[in-house]
């Protein structure tokens, strides 16, 4: 097709229509893959593997101890199992036997400790640690082979509980601290003081798609890795390290994930490495996919935390001083525990002004799976502490918790404990007051009081909680993104960027940004699978920053192309004596129109074709780095976050005093997403994050036994929220007038912040429990607040009369 035969007169009404049309950014549209999801046509990593005939399967041989020496390993019996192709052990690793993303402390296969006098036997560091992987013609063969491998161990006493790690000084790191003011002095002088300690549980990601990788080697010996990873670049790095090859020998592709939630930020790497080693050694296509139990046993989770705190406050409930010691359970290796802990320290304030504060953090080393990123990334654990403190202050003083929370909210101009100004702090109070009104908070308070007065065994509770969450990777260098936008001669577009799609709607937003960036309909834009050979050196799709970073990088590339095209269009649309300038041109809906004269119009496709013939480049790289962020970890001062996202939640629950079982009757959420790029996507993120947060705080309970074995390692023992937990009344609203200047299209990140709206459920449970027994006084409720925990909480109220 050439420019000359595409030329046809454009209906002026179409040009006028395009000028008046609404941009794609801001439109409520469904997920860009929704039709493929519902028909089963959407493919995930293991689907690709299964559709590729004759891929080999792998299955791990898992150690039955949390801490042990591996005395003896004999894989030969597996080799005689029909269908077994090979067994991988430590000696098959061509490069470095380590997949650690932060330190080289994560052996892919067990290895001996280093250092003089160290025992030469390989160490088992956590229960189910794979000592070998069996490669078979089928998964059945690999499983049978794995069962035939002989391994002998000498068990050693494991460190399992955080409190045991503290007692035995077993830490990965210590000494992280943020301090402001004079907390000791302020505590001493405070009219009221409280202190306490508690633990909060971890959380399994339970992405519906378990870890999966599919690897093959091309004719030049290069490695092609399909992987369910949130961080293709790191997967590329780690595969290259383990294979001992340069990074340019490895390409990682990520089509889509069946959920990530942080669980595939670093955790996919070992499985990609196993498949890669197997593919290299067998010269076959190899898939690794975990079943649910293996996935839960072999991949890290949200960090459980222990918190010891002291708070000083006045009679109005104003917090004057806070001292907190946080200890996270890092598991056997460091992984992302350092930045997770950092974010917990940063978010110890949640949305409350802390005039005098010291918060210290350390990471315990235990013989458990290495804990990792999970939506909120330490933020929820930090905020758990302050929400617990707020409730205790209120109940100690006989005040309503929402009164104390409101009193302590950040006000305009105040700074955090690391002295970053809370820009738009006034949105917190606004969110509170708008939500109080829309949820009929006061009226329901009265109704609940009346209900509780006449109901001896069933009590209701209500709570209002805020969220303030900092957006940016706290590792500054991660705050960069690249893109590659390709315009083809027919005007159709391919967009590549460094972000990965895990259901959060990133690609839907990217498509809208690219479509508007070039002025074409979304149907003309294909967002391509994420590949490390399209955009290199990318950051993990994490920290809620996927759209902020990649969206800006895509917009940057589109702007470049558009500027080139605008110049050409201006000359094409100029008439003798009447110039058309590039800046009067509007790119919209597949047309390029002069805003001054709608008869000056050309289709995008025709313009592109002309540009090609004029030898104008039709592709561009884009780049973005977040400006104005810095942090000094020694001083504990700086601006680690580009901005804050805000939100507020009201939840109402009903508790059965006989059993501790409860239901959530109604939830109202109000959340700040700036100017939403994709409202349906954003509301989906808010509601989904809330549900996941409620799961963490209520029914999702990880139970390890005395031997360090995870007893809740499948769906029948680890209970995610189901439809039954979805409140019958569930209202979600986006905060109005919330434009975020300096962020792509004025939007805000949304992935993580609403997770912490779920504190309203826990606080409402406490509110209901407080109605059992004699009035007044604090509520002790373990976390997660399972039915059993709520029951014991009620019992402790009853016991005090």
């Amino acid at each position: 097709m050439s420019a000359h035969d595409t030329k046809s007169p454009i209906d002026p009404r179409r040009a006028a229509h395009a000028l008046a049309s609404v941009p794609n950014v801001g439109r409520p549209v469904a997920h860009e893959s929704a039709d493929a999801h519902v028909t089963g046509a959407a493919l995930y990593t293991d689907d690709l593997a299964l559709r590729s005939k004759n891929a080999l399967a792998c299955w791990p041989v898992c150690a039955p101890h949390a801490h042990a020496w591996l005395d003896h390993l004999d894989v030969t019996p597996a080799l005689s199992v029909p269908g077994v192709v090979r067994v991988l052990t430590a000696k098959d690793v061509p490069g470095t036997n380590d997949t650690g993303p932060s330190r080289l402390d994560e052996p892919l296969f067990p290895r001996a400790a280093e250092g003089e006098g160290a025992d030469p036997r390989p160490e088992i560091l956590f229960h189910a640690m794979p000592v070998a992987w069996v490669i078979g013609e089928s998964e059945e063969a690999a499983k049978l082979g794995a069962a035939a491998v002989i391994a002998r161990y000498t068990p050693r006493p494991p460190v399992l509980a955080i409190t045991d790690a503290i007692a035995s000084k077993s830490f990965h790191l210590e000494g992280m601290k943020i301090r402001r003011g004079e907390p000791e002095h302020a505590l001493e002088r405070a009219p009221h003081r409280l202190e306490g300690s508690f633990e909060m549980g971890g959380q399994e990601h339970f992405y519906l798609e378990a870890h999966a990788s599919f690897v093959y080697v091309d004719e030049a010996g290069s490695i092609f890795v399909h992987c369910s990873t949130q961080h293709p670049t790191e997967t590329q790095d780690v595969v290259a390290r383990v294979l001992g090859v340069a990074k340019n020998e490895v390409v990682v592709q990520q089509l889509r994930m069946g959920g990530g939630f942080g669980g595939k930020e670093t955790q996919a790497n070992p499985f990609a490495c196993v498949a890669a080693i197997a593919a290299v050694l067998t010269k076959r296509r190899v898939r690794v996919r975990l079943d649910r139990m293996r996935d839960m046993q072999l991949s890290g989770k949200r960090h459980p935390f222990h918190a010891a705190w002291k708070a000083g406050f006045d009679e109005t409930g104003k917090l004057l001083a806070l001292d907190v010691q946080l200890t996270s359970d890092g598991g056997h290796s460091l992984d992302l525990s350092l930045p997770v802990l950092g974010r917990a320290l940063f978010h110890i304030d949640n949305a409350y002004y802390l005039p005098n504060v010291e918060v210290r953090g350390r990471v315990a080393r235990t013989n458990k799976i290495s804990n990792t990123a999970f939506r909120g990334f330490g933020g929820p654990q930090g905020m758990h502490v302050i929400e617990e403190v707020m409730d205790r202050i209120a109940r100690t003083l006989g005040l309503r918790p929402e009164v104390v929370r409101t009193l302590n909210l950040y006000r305009k101009g105040q700074t955090t404990h690391y002295e970053q100004e809370v820009v738009h702090a006034e949105r917190l109070e606004r969110a509170f007051s708008e939500l109080r009104a829309s949820s009929a908070f006061e009226q329901r308070r009265a109704e609940i009081d009346a209900f509780n007065a006449t109901s001896p065994h069933t009590k209701r509770g209500l709570a209002l909680t805020p969220v303030k969450f900092g957006i940016s990777f706290t590792a500054k260098y991660y705050n960069q993104a690249g893109s590659l936008v390709l315009v083809y001669k027919d005007g159709s577009v391919q967009v590549s960027h460094g972000g990965t799609e895990m259901g959060q709607g990133l690609f839907t937003k990217i498509r809208a940004i690219a479509a508007d960036g070039l002025g074409v309909p979304t149907s003309a834009v294909r967002v391509m699978p994420t590949r490390t050979d399209k955009v290199p050196n990318t950051s993990a799709t994490a920290a809620s920053a996927g759209t902020d970073l990649n969206g800006a990088a895509v917009k940057n590339a589109c702007d470049t192309i558009r500027a080139r095209l605008a110049e050409l269009a201006a000359s094409v649309l100029s008439k003798p004596g009447s110039d058309c300038t590039a800046d009067e041109l509007v790119f919209r809906d597949g047309l390029v129109v002069s805003s001054k004269d709608a008869s000056r119009v050309i289709t995008f496709a025709e313009l592109v074709d002309r540009a090609y013939h004029e030898r104008i480049q039709l592709s561009a790289n884009g780049f973005y780095k977040t400006p104005d962020i810095h942090y000094d970890p020694v001083a504990g001062r700086g601006r680690p976050f580009y901005y804050y996202a805000f939100g507020a939640a009201v939840a109402e629950v009903e508790v059965d005093g006989f059993t501790g079982m409860y239901t959530t009757r109604r939830v109202d959420l109000l959340h700040d997403v700036g100017d939403s790029i994709s409202p349906m996507i954003d509301i989906g993120q808010i509601e989904g994050a809330f549900a996941q947060g409620a799961g963490w705080l209520t029914q999702e309970e990880l139970v390890w036994d005395r031997d360090g074995m995870l007893r809740t390692s499948n769906a029948s023992t680890y209970k995610l929220p189901s439809l039954g937990e979805c409140p019958p009344i569930f209202n979600t609203t986006l905060l109005r007038e919330a434009r975020a200047d300096g962020v792509v299209h004025g939007s805000k990140a949304v992935g993580e912040p609403p997770f912490m709206l779920a504190f309203a459920v826990r606080e409402a449970l406490k509110d209901a429990v407080a109605s059992f027994g004699a009035p007044g006084g604090v509520v002790d409720l373990a976390s997660p607040a399972t039915a059993e925990a709520v029951y014991w909480s009620i019992e402790s109220r009853r016991a005090r009369g």
């Binding site: 929704a34 999801h37 519902v38 089963g40 559709r51 069933t458 189901s722 039954g724 937990e725 569930f730």
Partner: protein, 498 residues
């Protein structure tokens, strides 16, 4: 060697060389039908849901939705299956209304659970004839992304669409015009190395007991929702299966003068339909047996209940199964059938359920015997209560379940009591001593209190990941207190489960 033949998304399939330990889910995915997903492989998440044509209690056909991870391949022989991949009209390139609603309403995020939700909603669209969609239809599907609100709203919208489109051409509805022919007897055998594996699916009870008499070591599949979990989770591989899904006699459901007889092979979902009609409430039978009406919605998800049977639940004899306490409280009896080689006939014996459980997963059933039916004798107790304590309200395994059946005289005093608990000992437990002490009381809180304390001293629960032993003991007390409160207090609240 035998082939398994069935229809999949409108096309005939002939599956050869299939190990009977292969699940339908595994087979589908291994054969590039990857639209059906594995999320848990134990029937908890519903990502693998598929529909097949089956007859309802009234004998008319419907699209029944089951977890394909809990179906062994030979079970699909002769069936007609649909997956999410077969619902969109290929000819017109249009999505099925279920797909359209879910997609447009924000019902999918990562999309991995979505095909399962699609199939569950599809089944409901053709099952219910009117009224709102029963939320139970998607209670066995887990979604980790959405928080369920948009999926629930899609379901609500679909009910309206279904009602509006009544009479419009619909190939899936047309297909339901003819009832499904009974499953034919079949035996699937395969030789792997030196092992021969067999899956027998007889169609008569006589054949079933005869097979079992010859080969008592065969693993009995009566719904299979437990057996297949062992296959998937613990990699159990059985050489011989005896599947009861085709045995006509086990599908009986008879309301006799002296007892209700429930065939051991009838699915819990179909029992439930006889007790309760969605949007209409309990039937006469449901009002007479509220114990079962309260039990069944709490007994796993409908996806499981569509396959699970009382025969299976009592056969595996799990101490935390929810069927046994309810049936114990109802004084149920089991009809055990076996083969008489001399006459080539069925012999039967009746075993009271109260003497059936001998120890942890040990029962009075001999290896050559099959559970034919559960008999619930009449008259039923006038007061029946089933309480379940679990971490998650729906679709969870009990920490403790309590089932209480009580009769009172005209003076309000207890004349007969049955108290049964699950989850508090190695076997489902009846507390006969407490039952005796309950006689003559009016179930007043003050009367119950010492009995509740005494009851908690009779149980021997364990600590595990579901609950502590201490909590389980406390629940024995609590559920009896709750019984007293619910039956004597006019203001008793039913707002919160259990």
């Amino acid at each position: 060697m035998s082939a398994i033949t069935f229809e999949l998304d409108g096309a005939p399939v002939r599956a050869e060389n299939v190990d009977p330990n292969t699940t339908l889910l595994h087979w589908l995915r291994a054969n590039a039908k990857t639209g059906t997903k594995e999320g848990c492989a134990e029937g908890e998440c519903g990502a693998c849901a598929i529909a097949w044509r089956a007859n309802g209690p009234d004998g008319s056909a419907r699209w029944e939705v089951v977890n394909s991870c809990l179906v062994l391949m030979p079970s699909v022989h002769g069936r007609e299956l649909l997956t999410s991949e077969g619902l969109a009209s290929r000819a017109e390139g249009t999505l099925h209304p279920v797909q359209r609603c879910l997609a447009d309403g924000g019902g999918s995020q990562c999309g991995y659970c979505t095909p399962g939700f699609v199939v569950s909603l599809f089944g409901e669209m053709y099952r219910a004839r009117e009224g709102a969609f029963d939320p139970e239809s998607i209670a066995g599907n887990l979604c980790r992304c959405t928080g369920y609100r948009p999926i629930r709203e899609a379901a609500e919208k679909l009910a309206v669409i279904r009602d509006k489109s009544r009479g419009a051409p619909d190939p899936f509805r047309d297909r339901l015009a003819t009832p499904v022919a009974p499953l034919e007897a079949s035996e699937h055998t395969i030789t792997i190395g030196e092992t021969t594996r067999s899956f027998a699916r007889p169609s008569t009870l006589l054949d079933a007991v005869a097979i079992l008499a010859r080969e008592p070591s065969r693993t009995i599949v009566n719904g299979g929702t437990d057996v297949t979990v062992e296959v998937n989770q613990r990699h159990k591989r059985h050489d011989g299966y005896l599947s009861l899904e085709g045995v006509r006699e086990l599908g009986q459901f008879e309301d006799r003068d002296d007892a209700l007889v429930i065939g051991a092979g009838i699915s819990l979902a179909q029992i439930e339909e006889r007790l309760h009609v969605h949007a209409h409430g309990p039937t006469a039978l449901g009002r007479a047996l509220p114990m079962l009406g309260e039990l069944l919605p709490l007994f796993s998800s409908r996806l499981i209940r569509t396959r699970a049977t009382f025969g299976g639940n009592l056969g595996t004899a799990s101490p935390i199964g929810d069927g046994p306490p309810a049936l114990l409280a109802l004084d149920a009896e089991l009809v055990l059938a076996s083969h008489d080689a001399n006459t080539n006939a069925i012999t039967r014996r009746i075993v009271p359920l109260s003497t059936y459980f001998l120890g942890y997963r040990k029962t009075a059933r001999a290896p050559h015997e099959l559970i034919e039916a559960v008999r619930i004798p009449k008259p039923y107790a006038s007061l029946q209560r089933f309480y379940k304590v679990s971490k998650r309200r729906l679709d969870d395994i009990s920490s403790v379940a309590g089932a209480f059946a009580i009769d009172r005289g005209p003076d309000g005093r207890v004349t007969r009591a049955r108290l049964a608990f699950g989850g508090v000992a190695a076997v489902p437990l009846r507390l006969t001593e407490i039952e005796q002490r309950l006689l003559g009381t009016r179930l007043a809180a003050s009367e119950i209190e010492p009995l509740a304390i005494a009851a908690s001293q009779l149980v021997t629960p364990i600590d595990d990941h579901r609950a502590s032993a201490r909590y389980r003991k406390a629940m024995v007390v609590s559920l009896l207190r709750k019984l007293a409160f619910d039956t004597t207090s006019p203001s008793a609240s039913h707002g919160v489960s259990p």
